[in-house]
């Protein structure tokens, strides 16, 4: 697994398209709320208290890993490297976990880093009333807890799509598209359309945990070396 992870990190760093896609999404999700917060008058703080602006940033751990994971299998197939890798003693499950970890680590790191940056900018530069309305303890906790769960779910979706695709760009597009329902849910919570209660949070977390475990099993089945190498079945 370590060998796969190390190789994946090296490849990420040298894949300009992947670096660009991984960087641009968090920037979009950072700049837009920053501008919004700085243009709000102090009177808007009352409205903000009923929203969960920080939850909106949970889109980052959904979208970034979707992009990274969508390249995982189809990228190997296109380069012709999947067959040599599968001829080594590595088990398919180890290969998948190595690839999942390689997408998970940078995605979670980027999500936390962007989130921390946003919180710091708001705390230090926004109007005090706005800052206290935006930065709410439960939202911080939600961000910390849901980021790895959302990233894991998104990774399995991305790898599943990657294992069924023959073109990396198509895989990325479908993977991002498949992430949108999750983004929609977090956005609806952020806008208080779905009330952010403890019950909802626990239910959402439990559902994600189940989805992550189911996702892992489904991906293990979809990842059929014989089909991937021979283009049959």
């Amino acid at each position: 697994m370590r060998a796969i992870r190390r190789k994946e990190f090296r490849e990420y760093r040298r894949n300009g398209n992947l670096v660009f896609a991984t960087a641009i999404l968090p920037l979009i999700f950072l700049i837009q709320p920053v501008i919004q917060v700085f243009t709000l008058p102090t009177s808007a703080s009352m409205t903000l208290r009923h929203e969960h602006s920080l939850v909106y940033m949970l889109a980052i751990p959904v979208l970034v890993p979707a992009v990274l994971a969508s390249y995982a299998v189809v990228g190997e197939r296109v380069q012709g490297t999947l067959e040599p890798v599968l001829t080594t003693p590595v088990r398919p499950e180890e290969l998948l976990l190595g690839k999942a970890m390689a997408a998970f680590v940078p995605s979670v790191f980027v999500a936390y880093a962007v989130f921390a940056l946003f919180v710091a900018i708001v705390e230090f530069f926004a109007r005090a009333a706005v800052a206290s309305a935006v930065i709410q303890g439960p939202d911080l906790l939600a961000q910390l807890l849901f980021t790895p769960l959302l990233a894991s779910w998104s990774i399995w979706v991305g790898i599943a799509i990657s294992a069924r695709s023959s073109d990396p760009r198509t895989a990325t597009q479908i993977s991002v598209l498949m992430s949108l329902p999750t983004v929609a849910v977090t956005t609806l919570i952020a806008l208080n359309v779905i009330p952010a209660t403890l019950g909802i949070a626990v239910g959402f977390g439990a559902a994600l945990l189940v989805l992550v475990l189911v996702g892992w099993r489904v991906v293990s089945v979809i990842f059929d070396p014989e089909r991937l190498i021979t283009n049959t079945k």
């Binding site: 060998a3 190789k7 490297t81 067959e83 001829t87 088990r91």
Partner: protein
């Protein structure tokens, strides 16, 4: 890696092995054995099932019939990982990470094989394919031939017992091709079993102890010389300055000659059981008959003749 205790039998034993993809037969009813230290050539036209056979023996494809033993282990799902530890496969396409350097590619595979002393093994593998000076080059910037050599270095990393090489000299220039031949000879001397898939018949003839010719089913297995003897009658070719007056009377009177045919105006092909014994008596008879002899020589059939004969037989019989 030389693990003792399982080298009594053959390196590869295949019994009635077959693979179907739905209705399509990739190969079927294949049976052969490959001994340890043997270089075994696998020849056949495109679509004959060569690559699928290699993938099946390499545990990447599950057979639909028959059984096999690879590197001393039965080909079962339980043994897949251990078999892959003992073998290495170089596919037809080099399959390199083009954004990574040569050394990084090799390091990745050394890690996957859990090779002890990775850097040392990488250096040895690079030396073996004469690429030491290109270790830091990005693979995407290498020529096709150099990529092929990196792929060769990759399969040497784990010091495999059985090495499957699929067209190892494809895209290489003549000098690099000779280097690969020397490398294969060196591996053979070290006792590595080599399963060589190739379209180059002269390559198979030069390198292989035995060859198998297949076209979805196995057509023949044996040393090239034995296959020649099995398929073609032994013949002498006689050439004279002018046509013989009565060749039939001359040749049919010789006990060493079983038959003859004309092959041009002053050229004759004689079917004999033993060319070494027949050539002197034929020459003496020709001289006694007053013929001006240009040459008397044993006809040589190449592996290509054997291959074409077998593949033609297959086509004529109408079997796929």
């Amino acid at each position: 890696m030389q693990v003792s205790g399982y080298r009594d039998g053959p390196a590869i034993r295949v019994a009635g092995l077959g693979k179907r993809f739905g209705d399509r037969v990739a190969f079927e009813d294949m049976s052969f054995e490959v001994g340890y230290g043997e270089v075994f050539g696998f020849l056949g036209p495109n679509g004959a099932g060569k690559t699928t056979t290699v993938r099946t023996l390499g545990t990447l494809v599950v057979p639909t019939s028959g059984s096999a033993t690879v590197a001393g282990l039965p080909l079962t799902s339980d043994n897949e990982v251990e078999i892959r530890r003992r073998i290495a496969i170089m596919p037809e396409s080099p399959g390199l990470y083009l954004r990574l350097s040569v050394a990084e590619n090799l390091q990745c595979f050394a890690d996957l094989y859990e090779v002890p002393d990775g850097p040392g093994r990488i250096d040895q593998a690079l030396q073996a394919v004469d690429l030491t000076g290109r270790a830091q080059d990005v693979c995407g910037a290498l020529s096709k031939g150099l990529r092929q050599r990196v792929a060769l270095a990759r399969v040497l990393l784990s010091d495999p017992e059985v090495l499957f090489l699929d067209e190892p000299t494809a895209g290489l220039d003549p000098v690099a091709t000779l280097d690969v031949y020397e490398l294969i000879d060196g591996l053979r001397r070290r006792g590595v079993t080599i399963f060589l898939t190739t379209h180059r018949l002269e390559e198979a003839e030069r390198l292989c102890d035995r060859v198998a010719i297949l076209n979805t089913t196995l057509r023949a297995v044996g040393p090239p010389a034995q296959l020649r003897d099995r398929l073609f009658a032994k013949t002498l070719t006689v050439r004279t300055v002018v046509p013989l007056a009565d060749p039939d009377a001359l040749f049919t009177g010789l006990p060493a000659v079983e038959g003859w045919r004309r092959d041009g105006s002053a050229s004759y092909v004689l079917i004999v059981s033993d060319p070494t014994h027949a050539a002197p008596s034929v020459t003496r008879a020709l001289v006694a008959a007053g013929a001006d002899v240009l040459s008397v020589g044993e006809s040589r059939h190449s592996l290509e003749d054997v291959y074409l004969q077998l593949i033609d037989q297959r086509s004529e019989s109408g079997t796929p």
